[in-house]
Symmetry: C2
Subunit: 434 residues, 2 copies
């Protein structure tokens, strides 16, 4: 992955100053590598955790069947966004075009009555044997309302039909949570999440690895991509450390009123990757209090746009409206296979596309947009992936998770907590219990 | 649909003042009803256009087959967002659970090399007969790069296999555009868009009606829902006019620094409806110049959040972060069918859910969130749909399109143009032609 920030309207001097400011924290992160899962930043130890790979591998083998058709991922927020990001990038976005490719993932996150009603007929029509499904229930704390409700309902539907369905279930939760204990009593397969690894930093733990491995994703490549990136993001030289540089550009632009970070992704199959980052940035930096407990109401609002689609939707707003955004263009080198355009049916409507490949057209649009942004003085960064593979996705996600740690330092907030979400949870629990 | 704005932190007095300010414009809109498609607001005439329904009906009948499996919608921005909003709400969100329900819609918007590569094998494997597909190419101006490129490539793939595929094609464009003329020469079925109806206001024209009718959506209900709402949104009494009231709340909150309008939708199947509105608000009000040509860089940044999913993603940011958002909670009365939750597998993990239906849980979460927002002093409106049906969707969309017209008045901008998108289009064309 290549990060370019020379159009972010941040001077080299400013970048260097931030680099100096963050160097002791980079030293701290290097120490975290020696401490297992003790520190709040310990998610950076996941890509090199051999025991983790073994336990996930064992569960994957335990649930092996020759007829697997569907992986039911029951989890919400940090429990499914990373998995969905990778699945959609590699497979999910194309599922509509590949009705017979199996296994497919089905995600149950919120409790949606309409979706659950469809699920019941889906089980009746599409599942003929328990070996055709694997169910992964994922809840870090173990008592997420939506997840437990969805799991009870889905399992209730399946238990009526298949006596052995409990053997097709894997529970992923913190070791020792109430959910863990219940699963243990009932001899349900369990995978643990290290306590200090928060949901939004957990994609490279069993949370993501188990369902992705079941879906056929090369999780070894995913982790090795992350591992390589981890090395880069530990560098004390900000010029060689994309996480530090990106954090610097976000922070400096925020101080100049760019309170929105638009992630403009030029591959629709990466939309879910954008949504994963949306949680990471939104929840990690959006805070009522700083580290000293002072009221700050700070945060960057992340938005996800898809190119070229959203140029025809919010392009007008971005190019003409309020100058409150720092854009991160995210793209991968385009696949140059595929036919060239030969205008036949509509010959004469369009100039400049004859003999071009779809990749050439997509590239020309992205280039055109960048020139337009530059002419308008709109700040932007670019993250260019070499391709859309598990290794590149792992690298990108590791980059962003470490960017968030540096960003927490710059904003002087705790990028690992989310105290304000308790507000609605308390009200909801009161309503449900009244 | 019921709009509630008493938690938008706007006083009744302010609302009334805005209502007075907008009443002459409401009078103007009533006159537009007498002028066919002459005025820039003339999209409000679509729901009562009998000729339109006849021409769409004729095209639908002309393409009738007993074996229709896929409707290929080739268009971008205003040419597909409305169609996708309605299709996804009624069918698309559940397509993964209904592999054998037909016909399905497939959307080609941006030129995505990976999607196009999958499309080629999809045609080979899933289409055995030209009567199984209908292709609708939609481009208002007729020369949208992505649309023409995608159309040429998709038709190129199909023409190799099916001699009669051109009979399965419908072109929707402005009467007299170059695309129209070429289609006419080649005797391709054509549907026209009234010139003054801009892309983002065109869902109730042939743009949306043809593909939706082919997919089995009751477009008569869609239009009658819109028609009823049109009457409400022409009222001079702002208390009875949801479009006017919503515009007032958005405008007053914008002046107080709420530069983001978060549309927090509590039904995941309405996410595409949110994206349709994102274009409508983003492109209509996000402007470099006001009506007098002065540089203003004005606009509200629309965001789409899905409840309860995104409470586990950006809920922390919304409840704790910068106070720069006006939220519109969008929901429909929940479907109260479905089983009750009977904690069995994970009994004891969660209190308060036993005997509840998924709808009760979803409702409790939404209520809990609203209480939390209120306690935090965060302004919000609520749009409550009676159900998720074509009539309710038509009503909601008509409400929002007329809200935008009132909002254009308040912001003193032209809500029907999008001059700044030309900036990147020029650069892209230069690159493609060099």
């Amino acid at each position: 992955m290549k990060l370019t920030y020379n159009k972010s309207r941040v001077s080299e001097e400013e970048i260097v100053t931030i680099g100096e400011q963050l160097s002791s924290y980079a030293e701290h992160l290097k120490e975290v590598l020696q401490h297992g899962y003790e520190d709040e930043e310990s998610s950076i130890n996941l890509p090199s955790d051999k025991e983790l790979m073994e336990s996930v591998g064992a569960a994957v083998r335990d649930k092996n069947t020759t007829s697997l058709k569907y992986i039911l991922v029951i989890g919400i927020g940090g429990s499914n966004l990373g998995t969905k990001a990778i699945y959609d990038a590699l497979y999910g976005h194309f599922d509509i075009l590949e009705p017979s490719r199996m296994p497919k993932m089905i995600f149950l996150d919120t409790t949606n009555p309409a979706f659950l009603a469809h699920l019941e007929s889906f089980f009746d029509k599409e599942i003929t044997n328990e070996e055709e499904v694997v169910i992964n229930v994922i809840s870090k704390g173990g008592s997420t309302t939506e997840t437990v409700v969805n799991a009870e309902l889905a399992l209730g539907m399946l238990r009526k039909k298949y006596a052995g369905i409990m053997n097709r279930l894997v529970v992923t939760t913190d070791f020792g949570s109430l959910l863990w204990k219940i699963a243990e009593e009932k001899d349900i397969t369990r995978l643990s999440i290290p306590e200090k690894v928060g949901g939004r930093y957990s994609v490279l733990s069993a949370v993501g690895l188990f369902p992705l491995a079941k879906a056929g994703v090369n999780v070894t490549s995913l982790l090795s991509g992350a591992l390589e990136m981890r090395e880069r993001c530990l560098s004390l030289d900000i010029g060689k450390n994309p996480a530090m540089a990106s954090a610097a550009a976000l922070f400096i632009n925020y101080r100049r009123g760019k309170t929105i970070n638009d992630n403009f992704i030029f591959h629709p199959e990466l939309e879910s990757l954008g949504k994963w980052y949306r949680q990471l940035l939104g929840e990690s930096i959006g805070k009522e209090h700083n580290r000293e407990g002072e009221v700050v109401h700070i945060g960057i609002t992340p938005t996800i746009s898809i190119g070229s689609t959203d140029l025809h939707s919010v392009g007008q707003l971005y190019l003409g409206g309020p100058e409150d955004k720092l854009t991160t263009f995210i793209s991968a080198e385009y696949d140059k296979r595929g036919s060239v355009v030969t205008p036949e049916v509509f010959a004469g409507v369009l100039s400049g596309v004859a003999g071009k490949k779809p990749a050439d057209v997509a590239e020309a649009i992205l280039k055109g947009v960048k020139i337009a942004y530059e002419k308008k003085g709109l700040p932007f960064m670019e993250a260019l992936l070499p391709d859309i593979t598990p290794a590149s996705l792992g690298a990108f996600m590791q980059f962003k998770m470490m960017e968030m740690m540096y960003l927490g330092q710059l904003f002087n907030v705790n990028p690992f907590d989310q105290p304000n979400v308790e507000l609605y949870k308390i009200e909801t629990k009161n309503i449900l219990n009244s």
